[in-house]
Structure formats: C-alpha cells, structure tokens
Symmetry: C2
DNA sequence: CAGGACTGCTTTGTATACACGGGACTTGGC
DNA sequence: GCCAAGTCCCGTGTATACAAAGCAGTCCTG
C-alpha cells in the first residue's frame, strides 16, 4: 500500500490542485499499479476527506477555501472541546491525570531560557501526544473517532503550524499562550469543570486559526511550507 | 449499486450482529455479485461508519454499546449546535429565515386538537427537513458535511424515534417539547444569540437520548422496531 | 439554420484468474 | 513430551479483460 502514501503525498504537496479530477487509467500508470488498487486507494482517500466522490463515479481532489480551513479548525476545537468536557464530567483516573501531567512537564521542558527559545521538534511531538491523550480521556470511542477524523485534514491538525521547517517568530510566540492553555485545560479536567474545559479547548484551537490568518494574509510564502496549506484555493 | 443498499439493509436489520467479520467470498455469493464490487460496497459502508476496517485487511460489522449510542447522540447535538451557533453568529438571510419559519409552521400543523394527537408521518418528514435546513444555514460546508456524517448512524439521526411504526406514547409526548425547542432555536438564530442557539440544539438532541434510555430500560421490545437499535450489543 | 439522433470514444463498473501472505496444524527432531 | 519448522489452506491483494454507460461531436433532416 505504498501507492496510498504516494498519492496522498502528491495531493498534499499540491501536485493535484483542488478540483482536479483523478482518472483511473493515467493514475494507474503514474503509480505503476493497475486500476483495481487505484480504486481502493482513492476510496480510502475519500474516507480521509482528501477526495470527493463524483455523483456518476470518479473522484476529484477536494477543494478547500480559506473559509473551509477556518471552519475545519473551529470544528476540531469543538470536537476536542467535547472530549475535554466529557473527560471532566465523567472523571479521569489518577493514572490518566498523571499521564497528562507528565506530558505537560515534557512540553514545559521544551522552553529554553530565552524568551524565544523553543525546541520545536520536541514540542511538536509532545503536543501531538497531549492532544491524543486528552481525547482518549473522554472515554468515548465515538468522540475519539470523530476527533481523529477531523484532525486528519493537515491544516486542521493540532500540529499544523509546528513543523520544524516553519521557524516563524509569530508561531513560536504563540506557544507560551498555548502551553498556558494546556495547563488550564488539565486543571479544569482535574477539577471536573466541564464547561471550562470545553471552552479552553476551543480557544486553544483558535490559536491555529490565528496562525492560519497570519500565514495567509501576512506571510503568504508560508503557504508553501506549512503542511496542507497548498490545498487552499481561493 | 443495489448491492450496497442490500448489504446496508441486512446490517441495519441485524442480520450481521456487531463484531461479525464479513468475508468477501461468501458475501459475493449471497449478494450474487463478484468480489470486486463487494469490496467497493464494504469500503463505502466503512465510510458510513457501519463497518470497521481490520488492520490486516477485511471488515467487521461495527459494534455499538449503549454508551456509544448515547455518545453518538451527544455528538450529533454538539455538531448541530455548532451549526446553529454559526448560523446565529454569521447571520441568516431573510430567505433562510422564511424557509425555517415555513417548516416550523408545517411542524405546528402536525399537532391535532387532542393532547396526544400527532401526524407522525408528516412530523417526521418536516422534522428531517428542519434539521437539514438548519445545518445548511451555518453556511459551512465543512460543518454540514460532518453533521450529515454523524447523522448517518441510524440511532443518532434526528428522526430515529419518529418512525411511524413506533406509536409510543412516551415518544409522542416529547414532540411538544421538541417543537418548543424548534421555535426557540429559530428565535435564537434570528436574534443572533449564538450561545443560546448552540445549547438549545444540544438539549434538543438529548430528547433522543431520553427516548433511547426509555427504549432500552423501560420498553425493550422497542429495540426491534426503532430503526438502528438492533445494532446495540451490550 | 437549428434541433435531434446516432455513433464512437472515454471512463467507470464487473468478473475472473492468479499471486501473496498469514495462521494453524502436523510432523520431525531433540 | 515439547518445541520448532515447514506446509497447506484460507482470505485478501492485484492484474487484466470485458461490459456498460455517459458524453460529445457530427451528420442528417425538417
């Protein structure tokens, strides 16, 4: 199934702009496989939300506007917020809280002495872990499934603007605020404050929205380096 | 693609209980088609959330617990709530509000003179329309897409407990409350009250949760007549 | 000149045959 | 007697050939 990764990569790197119809025969030649696995691959990418099924068969690369990206981020916030609220309402075991605390400490350790000094690589990894664990603590496989789904769109992922290739001051500075929200979120869950946890998670996601806004309007060359932003059309 | 509908129907009617692994060859014989379209069908049902992909290939019928159903309903409420909030925040055109008002009136007309007299058939149809239009008014294709997805699980659908086969007093009585919530929801959107709209939509969905609770604990024979409830296992 | 129908091509849908991989069972050796 | 290795079977992955459907372009007719 290397073909799946290959096609996904091509779409994510902008080889096939949004709205491009993908024909089976040429794709089969490009990927050096026959039509049957091509269909399989496209079907999976449709599940991921990267392709749309056409009414009369066939697939097109899904096309995203700036507004869609904003909504996808908002949606991620809503879903993570729900997971956080459920975790708070239903309660989290001591082991779960310990796990969150440990990741929190790992995130903390990524900040160096200087005000602008961050180990982005380590932060990005711990951040992804934090979000994954948080969602798991909702104790709801249904919610977890949908969060993971919403997160699969690269520009909506919690780590979208943390790629090590994007050493942008504006992004780095947001990390202190983000980390404070992480801490507050954990405190809210520990204190069974469902509403607080929910809205902190939402606001947390809106950092990504702000970063997106910055990339699109202030620093357009970032569109090429931040993963997924090439998918944005108009 | 009648095979798709046929297999979906079989799963929804409980022919293949949750956790059942679906093998391609026997399924191909059952459905009277070859393995290739069987794979296609299963792939689509996986997209719908009725099947799960196994790690090493193959599919199993997704298995739902009571808690999963509760969570799926809550999730639907959260997503519809988000749509309602966005509609309120972003504003809805006069034409949109008129459309909502018209459906509201149609719902109203379903209640007869008696306290327990309802044209369930008409109500169910208008109710489905109301929810669809409401979500459309969010003006967000991303949110709309995910609401429709969450709604595809039959027991999480807004019309789950409105099937005409389930003339249960407990369900009918909830309709007056539901209709009041519909009216309030429209008022909230008209008044740009985002938070109110969001939480009304959530609470509205929780009527379904209550009905589910009733079906499972008070009137188990309903499990067989309410569409989708046969999917619930433990 | 315009509209409709027919034909041909392009593209997806379906069937079938073959390849590959994994797991279980059996057999042989220690 | 137990463990390990090999083989066989079951099930999915892949390729290819063929069928059917949709679309467009052209030609014929009114």
């Amino acid at each position: 199934m290397r073909a799946l990764m290959e096609l996904r990569k091509k779409i994510l790197s902008g080889d096939y702009p949004g709205g491009t119809r993908l024909f089976e025969v040429p794709l089969a030649e490009t990927l050096q496989i026959s039509r049957t696995p091509v269909r399989e691959v496209m079907s999976r990418l449709a599940e991921e939300g990267l392709l749309d099924r056409l009414a009369n068969g066939g697939f097109v690369v899904r096309s995203f506007t700036y507004a869609d990206a904003v909504d996808a981020i908002e949606l991620r916030g809503v879903l993570e917020g729900t997971a956080a609220r459920l975790a708070a309402e239903r309660g989290v075991s001591q082991a779960g809280m310990d796990q969150l605390g440990e990741i929190l400490a790992r995130l903390e350790a990524c900040f160096g002495g200087g005000p602008d000094e961050v180990d982005l690589e380590a932060y990005s990894e711990a951040n992804a872990k934090f979000h994954a664990v948080l969602v798991g603590l909702s104790n709801s496989s249904v919610v977890q499934r949908e969060v993971e789904r919403a997160t699969r769109l690269p520009f909506a992922s919690p780590s979208a603007f943390l790629s090590s290739r994007t050493h942008v001051a504006a992004f780095r500075q947001s990390l202190h605020i983000a980390q404070d929200q992480h801490r507050s979120l954990v405190a809210a869950i520990a204190g069974r404050e469902g509403a607080r946890a929910e809205f902190l998670a939402r606001e947390h996601a809106r950092i990504a929205r702000k970063n997106l806004e910055y990339a699109v309007y202030e620093n357009p060359e970032l569109m090429l380096t931040v993963p997924g932003l090439v998918l944005l059309n108009s």
